[in-house]
Amino acid sequence: MNAQAKSLVQIRDLYKRFSISGDFLDQLKFRGGKLVREQQHVHAINGVNLDVQRGEALCVVGESGCGKSTIARTVMGLLKPSAGSISYGGERIDHLSDRQILPYRRKMQMIFQNPYASLNPRMTIAQTLEEPVRFHNPKASATEVRDKVHEVMQSVGIDPSWGKRFSHEFSGGQRQRISIARALAVDPEFIVADEPISALDVSIQAQVLNLMMDAQESRNLTYLFITHDLSVVEHFGTRVAVMYLGSLCELAPTKALFATPRHPYSQALLSAIPRLEDGRPAHIRLQGEVSTPVNLPSGCVFHGRCPHANERCSREIPTLIATSEGGQVACHAVQEGRF
């Protein structure tokens, strides 16, 4: 019960499919002399359950096409789930209308991956930052809006006097700071960060991560942090969720995951990080080709590449089971104690 009370965002049985067959006319095909309607789907998320606890930084990691960005966008309401629900503070929000969701827009904000595309090139920095403040505080006076914008700009290390400039006059790192400032401008309590540092240089990545950690401390933020970079997760995350082909493989406290990864995929992923050690990389070799989310494999989505897979894995979809380290893992081999 306690865990329920603490959880801020709840994702329940989430499914998301995208049609890739175009419009109705494109879907009509001739098969054996008959006209049939065929639709192909990308199965981006397949039954994910995830809770974000208040005050934590939950990291979702996985490789491209695993559905991590789709989760971020579905939580933010940018996409409608195909099935399942998303709740915020106990209230279901995934089926709300544009008007009903407005109060939640103040509480939930998002930081994007590409600092070159996430700022409107035709707006000055001040215009970009004033817009959310004005929109959510229609009664605020011009001075109040300006003061608020100055405050957030200062808190992300951007000189307020730069407000009259356009985004193309700033470097990638500065733009990402501005993007963070825009998210902070409405004083949210929950921030979804979709690969916020992967487009940045190493030395700038550190600056932005530090800034996000500062903001978390000073503003009591909760993060849902999407990334493909496990080394960042180790540093930043409270808990880590590892995803593969739209399914959750493992969910564990960061320390536990890095010390003893349980799922074979987590192990492979961890071993593949290029470390600052000389000598050849000693990564776990995965067999087979990466399957696509268009034709999902039966059973466990990872069984085609898994070194420990057996017949059951190709038949039955594993469910999450609790581990001794306080995490959860979805793997038949772990459950049966096969490795």
């Binding site: 490789e63 600056q207 530090n210 320390k255 600052l276």
Partner: protein
């Protein structure tokens, strides 16, 4: 004689706002079978370096000075025709985006065969046989059927393997790889790196690996150079640079990695960002961001100082070396 020797290379861009120097004082050499890492952040000039070695710079960039000696011949002064016989044949290049190399309307096989026929006098069937064999080398499953597929039918990792196979097609002496795995997932990246390492060792191909990832450099290369704002600031054996970096920028890069800080603690950041080429500070280009900045750094371009097996362009390191030598001499006298 080194296989590739670059002396005092200088590259400029004629922009409408004026001439901009993109690379200066570039000196290095690459031996047969050697693996050299070029590390730097975006804007450091590392990709420009890769392009300029093959004289592939497009307008408004041009080689303004220095020489690029490949087996003693200066590539910078060669005719386009001579260059064509070297490009793709003796020196090949692998890019970050495989689709930069692959033509989407030709099958893999057509592209590889065309490439072979352009450089060698062999029959079409022989060319195809060689192509299949190279695909096998890069561990493409069932190469005989894959060879007739189009690039879009393959996954990202597969495409990059094909690009490597094309790079290896002519049995080149040097492969220049510009961020070859940046667009790939970590597990695929690890496989591709493994493969490249293996192929280079087996065929004694020299590899020049351009990347921003220090982890990859430390695992893949024996020599490394770190670039900042168009200059080499530190070069030497990879091991020394990784374990005992001398230049404050290299140290900063290393320390900024998340694995260098305790979990939950702030990362050690370098303040500011790389200056644009039009606006490089006088003196040491790194001085506005450096924690150890001295007066000399603001006025004087630092020369290279030997430190162990490395060459470092830093006033502070130079001064420390002088002091060390003085102390050693003082000890001898005593």
């Amino acid at each position: 004689m080194a296989l590739l020797e670059v002396n005092n290379l200088e590259v400029r861009f004629g922009l409408r706002s004026g001439e901009v120097t993109a690379l200066r004082d570039i000196n290095f050499s690459l031996e047969r079978g050697e693996r050299l890492g070029v590390v730097g952040e975006s804007g450091a000039g590392k990709s420009v370096l890769g392009f300029s070695i093959l004289n592939l710079l497009s307008k408004p960039g041009y080689i303004a000075g220095g020489e690029i000696l490949f087996e003693g011949q200066n590539l910078a002064a060669m005719s386009p025709k001579q260059l064509r016989s070297i490009r793709g044949n003796r020196i090949s290049m692998i890019f970050q985006d495989p689709m930069m190399t692959l033509n989407p309307v030709l099958t893999i096989g057509q592209q590889m065969v065309e490439c072979l026929l352009a450089h060698r006098r062999i029959s079409r069937t022989d060319a195809r046989r060689i192509a299949v064999q190279k695909l096998k080398q890069v561990q493409i499953p069932s190469p005989e059927t894959r060879i007739d597929q189009y690039p879009h039918e393959l996954s990202g990792g597969m495409r990059q393997r094909i690009v490597i196979a094309i790079g290896l097609l002519m049995d080149p002496d040097i492969i220049i790889a510009d961020e070859p795995t940046t667009a790939l997932d970590v597990t695929i990246q690890a496989e591709i790196m493994d493969l490249m390492l293996d192929l280079c060792e087996r065929n004694s191909v020299a590899l020049m690996l351009i990347t921003h990832d220090l982890g990859i450099v430390s695992q893949m290369t024996r020599q490394a150079m770190v670039m900042y704002a168009g200059r080499i600031i530190e070069q030497g054996p990879t091991k020394e640079i990784i374990n005992d970096a001398q230049h404050p920028y290299t140290q900063g890069l290393m320390n900024a990695l998340p694995q260098m800080a305790l979990p939950g603690q702030r990362l050690n950041q370098i303040r500011g960002s790389m200056p644009p080429l039009q606006n490089i500070p006088t003196g040491c280009a790194f001085n506005p961001r450096c924690d150890y900045v001295m007066d000399a750094c603001r006025h004087e371009l630092p020369g290279f100082t030997r430190s162990g097996g490395c060459r470092v362009a830093c006033h502070m390191v130079a001064q420390m070396k002088l002091e060390e030598e003085a102390a050693a001499r003082a000890l001898e006298v005593n």
